[in-house]
Symmetry: C2
Subunit: 190 residues, 2 copies
DNA sequence: TATATACTTGAGTGATCACTCAAGAAAGAA
DNA sequence: TTCTTTCTTGAGTGATCACTCAAGTATATA
């Protein structure tokens, strides 16, 4: 008996994610979202409940996509190859609305206000860090890098460098490709 | 004949800077500023003209202080020593309201909206990058590091790593001291 | 076709945004 | 003391914020 929605929910979340990713939480108004999603206020709140609820869905989709990207790179290039390919991938990805990491931007913006979404973003960052540690561990098991380093320490440094690269890459005239190459090459010397 | 203001202008800018630095542009309302600066709307606009004008003054004061900090470190530890000491300094500085760089936060938040303050912040970032390149050049002249690298390339990478460190250092449970130490140590191997 | 169950619409809510301005208070010069 | 100039005050501006809800519309089942 019911009537079906005229939209694709996952597609709406993806479009909202791109907008939040680029413009941030405060920088994206309900009016912006209504325009981009072609949704009137009533439909928006019936579908998602609140701006924050949609933002959380967007964060989760971002994290899932990021994990999938890393898994695909591992499948294509192996654990060390994935870690070396990721820096270039994130700054060259034309489908992305921004170079900087949405998790880091969210955490930076909302953490000082004690907003729950900041903790949520930080949790995703931590899970990504663990994923990096897994890959460093696998690279050691395959004798691609020395076993002299703690995989978690390598992941801590790698993620930090990656966040720095992705922020720097937003700047006009910044040679992000050079920094990405250096990060990748430094992994070969481990 | 005139009446003097009852406040210290530089002190007001410093307090506004700390608030903008921690909470960002959109995250800091006029009401917040009026409370912290003990200024009614009329006095605020008579003194600074607009929220954006005060933000720019805050950015400039931040940049001047940053340059002074770097100069002091150079005086104390020499060019290479300053570059090695800075990572630890920025994450341990108890006077700072945040670990992350205010210039980077400003650029990240306002750049997608084409806000003039984003360009202003990026200009300061570029000048800091040049200052880093100067120090790398001096370190080469003093035979502290090899002359095989381009100082500007070293500065490009160093600044990116520093931005990453400072963002990571905002996260709870992140071992920023370890990453800061690794950045410093990597400079000894140049 | 009739009915039940959604989904869609858009005007409207109070709160907060950055900002204005006219009136009053204070302090140095005469 | 008086006058002039500036600073201080705080109610008030229109715009925008996230969000609500009652009324209208479309669709799958019976």
């Amino acid at each position: 008996m019911p009537r079906k929605p005229s939209y694709d929910r996952e597609d709406l979340i993806r479009r909202a994610r791109d907008m939040f990713w680029k413009q941030g939480w405060a920088g994206t108004s309900l009016k912006n979202l209504e325009t981009t999603l072609h949704l009137k206020p009533g439909s928006f709140y019936a579908a998602f409940g609140s701006k924050d609820a949609l933002y959380q869905l967007a964060l989760d989709q971002y994290a899932v996509d990021g994990a999938a990207t890393l898994a695909a790179l591992e499948h294509a290039h192996g654990p060390l190859g994935a870690l070396q390919a990721l820096p270039r991938h994130v700054i060259e990805n034309k489908a992305a609305p921004a170079r900087a990491c949405m998790l880091a931007k969210t955490f930076l913006e909302l953490s000082p206000h004690g907003h729950p979404l900041a903790d949520h973003a930080n949790g995703h960052l931590t899970r990504m860090e663990h994923r990096f540690a897994d890959l460093f561990g696998k690279a050691q098991a395959q004798n691609q890098i020395s076993i002299g380093h703690d995989p978690h320490g390598l992941a801590r440094r790698y993620q930090s460098d990656l966040l720095g690269l992705r922020i720097s890459a937003e700047r006009p005239d910044y040679d992000a490709a050079a920094t990405a190459l250096e990060i990748a090459q430094s992994l070969s010397r481990l």
